[in-house]
Symmetry: C2
Subunit: 418 residues, 2 copies
């Protein structure tokens, strides 16, 4: 009951703040972001001190080295967080922009005004920089934010939030603009997900378990990034040098991220020429190959791929490889096993390129380029809050624009409906 009241009070306060935030001008927002940046740099010692407490706790709980690395802050990482806030300050503020104004026959002018979404809850794990990135982007887009980080990072998140809140309030933002759920009680997420009258959007960021929990419990709209099972399809008409470069980049440049390739699809008429070379190169770089029957007939010493492999996001130096008989089969495979994230075709054939473009139903469909470009920065957004694999509201990289909604505005001079 105590916990319930604690969460509801935060949600209420965030809602009240959001009503003030929607009318704050861009100058004030940028002032806040600049103060937040300066604050982080000034208080870095105390933030690092708090982070050390979290690391010590995580070590004693036996967290994996990868988790520990994600949790760890240092001067360079704090500087990167501060730099991120500066970038967000430099981005164009679209709140209040009016578009599509039309005049109706009865003289009404009807258009759309871009507005903040309202209150956004972010539920995430480990990395304390998410606290800062999300606070910056939500503030610039006129939203108040409720941050619920992992219990392992609570001291770091508290120290960062304190700095950010103080800066925002100094710039004139209301208390309630940036909110951190400090309770580490696991029930707090469930309570948060029921506050549909105060919270407008929930964005979970983390592993499959967290995402599933949020989707099944939430009464609030959720935008999620589920899995990134990205494909590169090497067509029979591919420039095989290009296909090689793209496949190596999509798998090796950063294997642990969502836009890395997990499955390579190769047309049967290109397989004999392409597979031996690319598999050798990938193996030489430490990649384990799991191939279909046809792949294994062409290249020796390849492990057999199991049915599960086609729908697995390895996030690691593992690649599943399948030989397909046609473009249709490739598109069908992507529809069946993919996660609608990022998929690429390599081809010099115009019709095949266009068919792939039209029929592959992923957030990002690539012709002759690496899937690794799916990223707010690479797309020119300046900063991203995440990548959506949903189909509603926002798909693919989500930047400032995707943290906004619109309202219809109607200018009349006494019109009534007959």
């Amino acid at each position: 009951m105590e916990l319930n009241k604690y969460i509801v009070d935060i949600a209420k306060k965030a809602k009240e703040a959001s009503r003030i935030l929607q009318a704050i001008d861009s100058e004030t927002k940028d002032k806040a972001l600049n103060l937040m940046e300066a604050g982080l740099l000034k208080k870095k010692e105390s933030i690092l001190k708090s982070n050390k407490i979290d690391i010590k706790g995580a070590r004693s709980k036996g967290l994996s080295p990868a988790m520990l690395d994600r949790l760890t802050l240092n001067e360079k990482r704090i500087a990167a967080m501060a730099e991120g806030l500066k970038t967000v300050a430099s981005l164009k503020d679209e709140i209040g922009v009016i578009t599509g104004m039309v005049k109706r026959p009865n003289g009404l002018w009807i258009g759309k005004m871009r507005v903040p979404i309202g209150v956004i809850a972010i539920i995430y794990e480990s990395r304390p920089n998410v606290t800062c990135d999300c606070a910056g982007l939500t503030l610039k887009s006129g939203n108040s934010v409720i941050l619920k980080g992992g219990s392992e990072a609570i001291n770091s998140n508290r120290a960062i939030c304190e700095v950010l809140k103080e800066a925002a309030e100094k710039a004139g933002f209301p208390d309630g603009t940036i909110n951190l759920i400090e309770s580490t009680d696991r029930k707090s997420v469930g309570i948060l997900l029921k506050q549909a009258s105060y919270i407008d959007l929930v964005m979970p960021r983390g592993g499959e378990g967290l995402i599933n929990e949020v989707v099944s419990e939430s009464r609030i709209p959720v935008i999620k990034h589920y899995k990134g099972i990205c494909h590169v399809y090497v067509d029979e008409y591919a420039d095989l040098n290009m296909a090689h470069k793209i496949s190596v980049n999509a798998k090796l440049e950063r294997p642990g991220v969502c836009n890395a390739m997990e499955t390579l699809l190769v047309h049967k008429d290109a397989a004999a020429r392409f597979l031996p070379v690319i598999i050798k190169e990938l193996k030489d770089n430490g990649v384990e190959i799991r191939g279909c029957g046809k792949t294994r007939r062409i290249v020796k010493d390849v492990k057999p791929a199991k049915e599960d492999d086609w729908s697995t996001e390895y996030l690691d130096l593992i690649l599943s490889v399948k030989v397909v008989s046609s473009l249709d089969e490739a598109i069908g495979h992507i529809a069946r096993y993919g996660s609608m994230h990022s998929d690429a075709i390599v081809t010099e054939n115009y019709n095949n390129a266009m068919e792939f473009l039209k029929r592959v139903d992923s957030a990002c469909v690539y012709l002759n380029a690496s899937t690794r470009f799916t990223d707010g920065g690479e797309f020119g957004m300046g900063a991203e809050i995440g990548i959506s694999t949903d189909k509603l509201h926002a798909r693919g990289p989500m930047g400032l624009r995707e943290l906004t909604s619109y309202k219809y505005i109607i200018f009349g001079n006494g019109q009534i409906r007959k």
Copy 2:
């Protein structure tokens, strides 16, 4: 278990169909819509016969006259359904339209292509015309649809769907384009709402009970129309003749619909002049007035408004009236009790108009016009599938465009990420 398989099979079939639908050209869509229109007119006798069975059943169950009216079909209503399909055929098909193409420094071209959402489930009550309207709009926007109407309308819905499905298939659409859940088992809705791997969007249309049930059970994104608690605020600087005309129109033109006024807010300095005249006019037209203390001091024989009144959607000849001390109080009242549907200010004061426009967080914000214009047709959309009171994906009237999503398309010539 049997029921589970029945629902899952329909959802799967709809998903498969949606993959084909996304690439069907506009001509084929319009051909289908025209055949659907002709089919409805040709088969009207058998549709009316099925409808009679539903009406008989509803009577024996003691449905209210209003419900019976909503359920009833006649020649005129079937003609209106057919006419609606013709209108949808005449609307522009935006699927495949590419916008916002930019060239990145590395030579990549990145843009957005408009695509169907995929599979849309509509859960609704009573009115059989919803079956036809939704099937037409979803087909034109390239989506397959799963229709779950009320059990009281099952014979009518089955007869209508049969005609529509036959026409769509004749035009070349796959089986699975239009799907009707024929089971009247209440459990079927719950099963449907769990098919997140096949269904992309759920739109409930009906009373508060239905909406709440869908929101709390669904694992699939929901866009809903909740309540329409619409306000007209008469400012101290209002043209009172205009305010009178707008108030009468917003309350009386069609009191049973979501964009009708439920609460009239009047600035204290306009109240003594405005309230006696408007209240007399509304009372003369059968409206019951429930007023705040100040209202009742100005006009006699007005019932007191209770706290509940401010958040009640009457959909009837009842109006709550409140005198406010300031524009701020009016905006605060709307934020607290409104449903973010449609709200209007009547004023000749520029600053007050702009403040209202900026700060009222509703789907449709009106200056000097009746709230009754919130409607797809009035907004120039040609047809609407509903009105959203949500903030994600779509707000206000939803037409063809709102039944679509986008995907990023990226044209490269061998780009890799460094």
